[in-house]
Amino acid sequence: MNRIGVFVCHCGTNIAATVDVHRVAETLGKEPSVVIAKDYQYMCSEAGQNMIKDAIREYGLTGLVVCSCSPRMHEATFRKAAASAGLNPYLVEIANIREQDSWIHKDIEEATEKAVILGRTAIAKVQLNTPLTAGESPVTKRALVIGGGIAGIQTALDIAEAGFEVDIVEKQPTIGGKMAQIDKTFPTLDCAACILTPKMVDCAQNDKITIYSYSEVAAVSGFVGNFSVKIKRKARFVDETKCTGCGLCTEKCPQKKVPNEFNLGLDNRRAIYIPFAQAVPKVATIDPDYCNMLKNGKCGVCAKVCGAQAIDYKAQDTYVEQQYGAIVVATGFNPINIDAYDEYAYSQSQNVVTSLELERLMNAAGPNGGTLLRPSDKKHPKTIVFVQCVGSRCDDSRGKGYCSKICCMYTAKHAMLIREKYPDTNVYVFYIDVRTPGKNFDEFYRRAVEQYNVHYVKGQVGKVVPKSDGNLIVYGSDLIEGKRLVIDADMVVLAAAIEPDKSARSIATMLTASMDTNDFFTEAHPKLRPVESPTAGIFLSGVCQGPKDIPETVAQATACAGKVIGLLVKDKLTCNPCVAHSDELMCNGCSSCEKVCPYGAITYEEKGFRQPDRTTKMRRVAIVNEAVCQGCGACTVACPSGAMDLKGFANKQIMAEVDAICL
C-alpha cells in the first residue's frame, strides 16, 4: 500500500488567507493512501523541510505531496529535501494552491474546495509515480567543427584555446571560406585577407587543432558527449605531408583551361592548383575532372617537376573515424543561383556580375590584379548600376523570402570603394529599403551617399538589356521622384541573396538536427539558446543558422565555442530522467515516434521475442536514447499502440489526474 504524506503550506497569509489550510490537510488526510497530513506556515523554510524529512523517515512514506506555491518555484527544494531523507525525489508532487488557487480566488469556500481537489489530483498522480534516477553518460573531450570558414575557424580557435582537441572538416582544399574571397570589409574598410589569414595560420599551427581539408563528413552516430563521426578524406593526389607548397607544379601543368572557382570562374587555373597564395594547408591538389594523367594516363608533368615527390596519381579516398563530445555546424552560405532572374540578363552578358564576383574583380589577387575592368572587354566601366535584393525578400519561387542582411552594407562598401578609386565613375544603387542596423553602419551608408555621391535610387530595375558593344541599358523606376529611368551602364552588379550551403541538408540529416524551411539550422530557442541546435550536443556557428555579417559571425562563433567548452569540461552528463520509454512488447516498430522526435533520440533494432509456442520471432522495436531524449512526449501520442510512454508524465498518471479533477 502506498503511504503518502501531505503537507499544506500557509505561505504566511498568501495561501492561508483564502484557503482554509487546516481543512485541506484534514480532508486530504482522510484519503485512503494518506498516512499523514499536516499544514505549516512555511513549508519551504528549514523547519518546514525538516517536518517533511522527519515524516518520510517516521512513516516510511512512499510518496510526498506538498500543497504550496507553483512547482516552478519550489519543486526542486522539496525534491532535494525528500532525497536527503531517503525518498526518491521523483516521488514528490506539488499541488499549486497559491498561484493557481489562493491568489486568483476570493471566496474561501471555493478556494478551499479547489485546493482539496488539486491536492487529490497530486495524490492520485504521486501514487503512480515511480522512483527515477538520473542517468549519466561520459563526455569525449574533443570537438568537431564542420566548415572551415571564419565561423568554424573562430570556434575552433576558441575551443582549442580552452585546451580541448578540435578537428575542422573543410570540403575545399583550403580553409578560409567566403571571407577569403572578400576584398575589404565594412564598415571599417580594412582588408579581409589581412585579418583572416593570421587566424588561418593560427589554426594550422595550433597543436590542438587538426584540419581535415578537402574532406567531408560521411556518417554520424551517437549522441551528446559520445558522437562517432566518419570523415571522408577525398583523394587530392598530392601527399599533404610531403608537399611544400612551392607551386612549381601549378606553373608547369599543361592543362590551363580550368575555371578558377576561387575567382568564381572569372579566370582560369591549372589542373593542379593551390586555391590562393595564403591557402591553409598550402598544398597542391589535382582536379581529377581536368587532369590528363588521371583522365587518360597521358601527362605526368607535375610528378616530374615535384622535387618533394609528393604526387601520387593512385591515391584513393580514405576514411577517418573519430569520437567527439560536441559537434559544431559552421557550413556557411553561398549566393543563390540567379539564372532564373532573366530580366537582369545575368546569363546573357558578362558585364552583369554578382557582388561576390565584383569582390574578386576588385581584389588585388583577383583576375585583374585589383584594377576594376569589366569582364567582356577589360575596359574601365564608367557607369555602374547596383541592383539590391536580387532573390532576397522575394515572394516567388525564384528567390528567398528572407532578407540576406549583408547586401545593403557591402553594396555601400562597393560603391564607396569604386567612387574612391575611380571618381569619374557614376554609381547607381537601386534599392527597396536600405537596412543599416549595426554599429557605425548607418554612418557608413550616409558617407556613401553624402561624401561619395553614390546615386541611391529607391525603386526597382525592371529590365537590363545588353547592347552589342557590351553596354547595358537599365530600365528602372525612381519611386520617390515618380519617374522612369533609363541608364546606359557599363556594368550591372546584382546583390544576390545568400542561402545555406547545399551540403547543410545532408549534414542536418546525419546529425538529426532540425532545419527551417530555408535550410537554415534551427536554434534550440530563438532568444535564449541561439547557438545550440535542439539536438543535444550540436552547436551552430555562423550563417548556417541565419544570415550574418562578419562581426556577428565571429561573435556567434565565440559564443558557440563557449557552449562547447561548457559541455566538454564536464566529465559526465546528467540526463533528465523524465524521458520517453518504449515498451518493446507493445512496440510495432512503425517509426511514427522517430518522425516526431525533435532530437533524433529514437532508433530501431531488430529484436527476438519468445512466442507462446517457444519459437523466437524477430521484430523491429523502438529504443529511446535516454541521454538524448528531452522528455517532450511528442512520441507518446504519435505511437498508435501506446508502447511509448513518458516517465514522470505517464499516460496512467495523467489519466489519474484527469479522473481526480473530474470526480
Partner: protein, 145 residues
C-alpha cells in the same frame, strides 16, 4: 434558465510547463481572477496531450477541455506545439463531425508572459461552456450515479 444559473462547469486545462503553466502562475502573481472551475494539469509540452486524455475527461464528467501551449514557433522542444496543433485540429473536427459541441474543446497559445491572456482565456472559456450547459453528448452514464 434557472438551471443554468446554478450550473458550474468542470473544466480541465492541460498546460505546457514552459509557457502556459507559467502564464497561469503569472496570472496568479498578478491576482487576475478566473473561475475556480478551471483545474490545471501540468504537462511537459502540448504535444504530450493524447486525445485519449481529452475523451477521458469528458467521460469522467468534464464539461470542457482546453489545451494551452507555447505560441507556434516558441516551443521549448522546437516542434511539439506544431504536432499538437495538427492533432487537436483533427480531433476537434472529428468531435464536431460526431455532433459533439465544438465549443467544449479549445486550444490557446499562451506564453509565460501572458498572465492576463491566460486569465481572460479562462474566463471566456468558462463562460462559453457555462452557456452550453452540462456535457451530455460525450458523457459516460456509469460515472453519473
Amino acid at each position: 434558465m434557472s438551471v443554468n444559473n446554478e450550473f458550474r462547469p468542470k473544466i480541465v486545462a492541460f498546460c505546457c510547463n514552459w509557457c502556459s503553466y507559467a502564464g497561469a502562475d503569472l496570472a496568479g502573481t498578478n491576482r487576475l481572477q478566473y473561475p475556480a472551475d478551471v483545474k490545471i494539469i501540468r504537462v511537459p509540452c502540448s504535444c504530450r496531450v493524447n486525445p485519449m486524455f481529452i475523451l477521458r475527461a469528458f467521460q469522467r464528467g468534464a464539461d470542457g477541455v482546453i489545451l494551452c501551449g507555447c505560441h507556434p514557433g516558441d516551443c521549448h522542444y522546437t516542434s511539439g506545439n506544431y504536432f499538437a496543433r495538427r492533432r487537436m485540429t483533427l480531433l476537434f473536427s472529428m468531435l464536431d463531425y460526431l455532433g459533439i459541441e465544438k465549443e467544449r474543446t479549445r486550444v490557446e497559445w499562451v506564453s509565460a508572459a501572458e498572465g492576463a491572456k491566460f486569465a481572460a482565456t479562462m474566463n471566456d472559456f468558462v463562460d462559453t461552456v457555462t452557456k452550453l450547459g452540462p456535457n451530455r453528448r460525450l458523457e459516460d452514464l456509469r460515472c453519473k450515479n
